[in-house]
Symmetry: C2
Subunit: 385 residues, 2 copies
């Protein structure tokens, strides 16, 4: 880990690099390089890292995402925001974060004065994403937020507007869009390996255990989660259908079932099945459930072959099969750290002043469709998008 003083001066430079092209391109001997390659203009590896403040130190943040920074080329944890000072201190020590850079939810806005922080990564329950995005943008920070982006289309729009107004990047953490097997699937589809796309099935499920695992309790509280399995994991089925087709759906039908005698589903839905229609004619049938054994899979059917990924959206150990009339073929591919790729992409977008691959608009699209799915399930009618 870097010492905090080195980190601070580096951050200061890099933060400015993200602001305007001029700052980056005049910074080193390679100033004549086109702006799209400012990284090459950096003088050393250390200078290439942007500082990330992690807002919310829950299970996902601490067990999956934070450890991934060690594989990042351009991203580093430089601040922590938590309501638990002890947890924050312990993690700060573990990750070499200057204890001065620990914030709580009350003093979070003072992060604006901290040049060690370039990007605020929001890992809070979805209903809080809007507030913290607005506060981060106001503090002059770029924003990476977990999915689902927010709990309403209106909140998503506010987040987009706030970051635009502040001239800051806004990205939604769709990790699967940075995962090698998923990228390979997209590439094979684009190349026509499956022939003409016809249908997709995608299933995401897991058992939610709010009582056994208190860290999960918020997931069944509508005010915090915004909804049930659809918001939390069904969004993987939905997002996959969109990135696999490369199209936006035009219509949706849906059905929901939640056992209201189960205390977990008093406020949020358990199981919801939805079918999306895409302009090319592809139908995507997706499922989402909080009461089935873990599943994270999809299959894409073309008229020449199918592509099966099961699991498709796990952290590791993806399993791809291509099926043709000649038989099934397993695809070997090197696993990659999707979290590190995602974090580096955010950093690069800041450094190179690029629009993220999964910007706020991407998150908004999913939320808009999710709301239509809820409406279709409620009314029993196909909803046009």
């Amino acid at each position: 880990m870097l010492s905090s003083s080195t980190t601070e001066s580096r951050r200061q430079f890099l933060r400015q690099a993200g602001l305007t092209a001029a700052v980056a391109t005049v910074a080193g001997p390679a100033a004549a390089l086109p702006f799209s390659e400012p990284l090459a203009a950096m003088q050393n590896e250390n200078q290439r890292k942007l500082g990330f403040a992690i807002v919310g130190l829950g299970k996902f943040a601490t067990q999956q995402m934070m450890p991934a920074f060690k594989d990042c080329k351009h991203a580093n944890i430089t601040a922590l925001v938590s309501g638990s000072p002890d947890k924050a201190k312990k993690l700060a020590a573990e990750y070499g974060v200057d204890p001065k850079n620990i914030y709580n939810y009350q003093n979070f806005d003072s992060i604006k004065d901290n040049p060690a922080v370039d990007v605020v990564y929001i890992v809070l329950p979805p209903s809080m994403h809007m507030e913290y995005t607005l506060r981060a943008a106001k503090a002059g920070k770029h924003v990476l937020t977990e999915k689902p982006m927010a709990t309403s289309v209106e909140d998503c729009q506010k987040m987009i507007d706030a970051c635009n107004k502040a001239g800051k990047k806004l990205m939604v953490a769709y990790r699967a869009q940075f995962e090698p097997f998923n990228l390979d699937a997209i590439s094979r589809i684009k190349k026509g390996e499956l022939g003409k796309l016809r249908q997709i099935t995608a299933d995401h499920g897991r058992i939610v255990k709010p009582t056994e695992e208190p860290a999960e309790a918020w997931r069944v509280v509508k005010k915090l989660a915004g909804g049930g399995s659809l918001m939390d994991i069904g969004v993987y089925s939905l997002n996959a259908a969109r990135y696999l087709t490369g199209e936006e759906p035009t219509e949706v039908t849906a059905q929901e079932f939640s056992d209201k005698s189960d205390p977990r589903f008093k406020e949020v839905e358990d199981t919801i099945h939805f079918t999306l229609r895409f302009p090319s004619g592809v139908l995507a049938s997706c499922t989402s459930s909080y009461s089935i054994q873990e599943v994270k899979r999809y299959r894409v059917f073309g008229d020449k072959a199918f592509l099966d990924l099961d699991p498709a959206t796990d952290y590791y150990e993806h399993n791809m099969t291509i099926g043709t009339k000649e038989g099934d073929m397993k695809v070997s591919l090197k696993e990659g750290n999707q979290f590190a790729a995602e974090l580096d992409h955010m950093a690069e977008c800041v450094l190179e002043n690029k629009t993220p691959k999964t910007p706020g608009e991407e998150g908004l699209k999913d939320i808009r469709i999710i709301m239509a799915i809820y409406e279709a399930a409620r009314t029993g009618k196909k909803v046009k998008l």
Copy 2:
């Protein structure tokens, strides 16, 4: 193979055995046995076989179903009905069928005078099932018909009524309900191995090639097939959802896509996705397509485990996996001849005067739901069942 004279006298006896309890139970030394075990009353293996007339000698009949008779204990091919005399003669020689027992569609009704025929097995395009069931019942024969049972609910009802009136058995050839892996799946679900059932996904697809394979041409002609992929293969997804839950669905939503510029889909649908709701809350999302590489699979999700069968409804080589939180487990099971089991069941129902496991009423249920699926797809509205 038996000589035709032996066959005829055997048939005569067995045909009568099927008519009334008395005939069967007074026929041998074991007449005191309860009627449910008349097979035990038979004096030798030969006497246990009923005579089947195969109506329609297409690819399925000649390549899959007819060869299965060699594994039957109680069923034998004794007559053929075809519009191609040459094909019929060749097959008659191959299967040891008396050439006298070859019929065409014009003289079919004279089968009533042939004691070698107990059961008429209709393997014609679905729109013809009604007519031949009525003619067979009128000829005093029991009826086994391929699925889908017919092309309208009204036709199904006519078939049921005709067989009831004639005092003949009517069974629909749902081979998957006689297939060992599917039976094992049902048994595991009933035993609670998956916990509480939550959802099912079932996908059936194949490329229909009416020009490359002329024998398939009828499948894309609405007047003959009644519909497209849903009638032909989607019915496997539907029937599976029903036999796996052991419940009848109460509501359905659906979406359809057919490329009308593709000559195959001018009259019948290509791809249709439908979601069934069952009283217990199980949602079943099913797909059916005529333009994707072959798929015949389902997965049943409980709150403790899932059961995956892929393929689920093939002729052979089924592949079962049980997935729990401890991991996935392959299930080894002996493949069985589902066709032979189905044919023997039909014969046993006649011999023992039992209602078939998949009677006309079972076929009618599927047709009624199929019509609701079409309506839901057409209107974009959930249809109550």
